[in-house]
Symmetry: C2
Subunit: 204 residues, 2 copies
């Protein structure tokens, strides 16, 4: 299988950590791709019309898009119920939490595009403030969440690490460690896992 | 259960159609909420820090966010494997297609925010062109897709209807019917279902 990938993408990082934790990373070729909003990439648009990372390209040529669907696919390939609980209330908690975290990442990327990618004269502070506020309120939610204390690794924990790693990577001065000390302790603990450590984004 | 809702939201429409098709609509109170990027809604942010529609609020107060996770939850409540195939290659096709369509909707909403919500002097044409192009290339993909001919209703078909209905609602002059005649025929056929017809967005 091939995975389109960038070391800066938190969505690609989530899948990479998943593949390592499930013992599937050796079956996946990481294929670097560069995409940016406002810049065409016609070749990649043929693979994924939304021009997003990551995409899993199966050996038969079939394509799976959306980091969460790729995680579901890999989880099933590894036997099922590994990183997404197969049943019970925890299943819906993990899925709900993952969706919240995914939406926080979407908002953080929109902030980044607004503050860096967009021409300076066209930036709208109310927009970036709103999206940053969503990510920040989301962190406040997770500061109080049982995600931090669950003993079995799940996709919500992995994605929370990707949120915090992305905050360090692109919003280094935002002060999340001071505001959310429980998230800080969780993040430090998670960094002891090789899958998390090896996938930290490169220096910005 | 309660579902936060707006008749203009294609994501809420997807869940509403799902609930009707699964025979669960009578168990759900539709609760109208108004959200807009750049405009705070502190009360709703307490329910959903990302301030998005829809949210399913269960009778025990638990909250499920993300229209797709809500669809999964309702599908399981109705016995499972109804709108999302439970196994086999079709399962991944439907999930992949749903994710593509969801991303197309995200891009269409970003276009709308760029072209209407954002102050006129701050609009960036390369951004809205890029996002419109993603939606348009996505439609081209679905014009050739077996989604159009599958006989059992699934969540990809429902979401494709929501994409096309949103195009009519917010991009009435985009010309999708002329460019994509197979999508037009599919859309007309789907409008014969009461769930689809009753949930068409109101006149813009």
């Amino acid at each position: 299988m091939k995975l389109t990938y960038s070391p800066a993408s938190p969505f690609a990082r989530k899948v990479r950590i998943t593949a390592i934790e499930l013992g599937l990373i050796d079956k996946i070729d990481l294929t670097p791709v560069t995409v940016a909003p406002g810049t065409p990439n016609d070749e990649y648009s043929k693979i994924h019309p939304l021009k997003k990372l990551p995409v899993l390209i199966l050996d038969d040529g079939d394509v799976i898009v959306d980091s969460y669907v790729i995680v579901e696919y890999l989880d099933e390939l590894a036997g099922g119920g590994k990183l997404i609980p197969a049943a019970g209330p925890l299943r819906w908690n993990v899925k709900r939490d993952h969706s919240l975290l995914q939406g926080m990442l979407d908002s953080m990327l929109l902030c980044r595009y607004e503050n860096i990618t967009r021409p300076e004269a066209l930036r709208w502070k109310a927009w970036s403030d709103d999206h940053w506020n969503r990510a920040w309120l989301g962190m406040a939610r997770f500061e109080q969440s049982d995600v931090l204390s669950r003993s079995e690794l799940d996709i919500a924990q992995i994605t929370l690490v990707c949120v915090l790693g992305y905050a360090d990577f692109r919003f280094a001065d935002c002060g999340w460690r001071k505001a959310y000390p429980k998230l800080d302790a969780f993040h430090q603990r998670m960094l002891e896992r090789p899958s998390i450590k090896i996938s930290v984004p490169p220096p910005a």
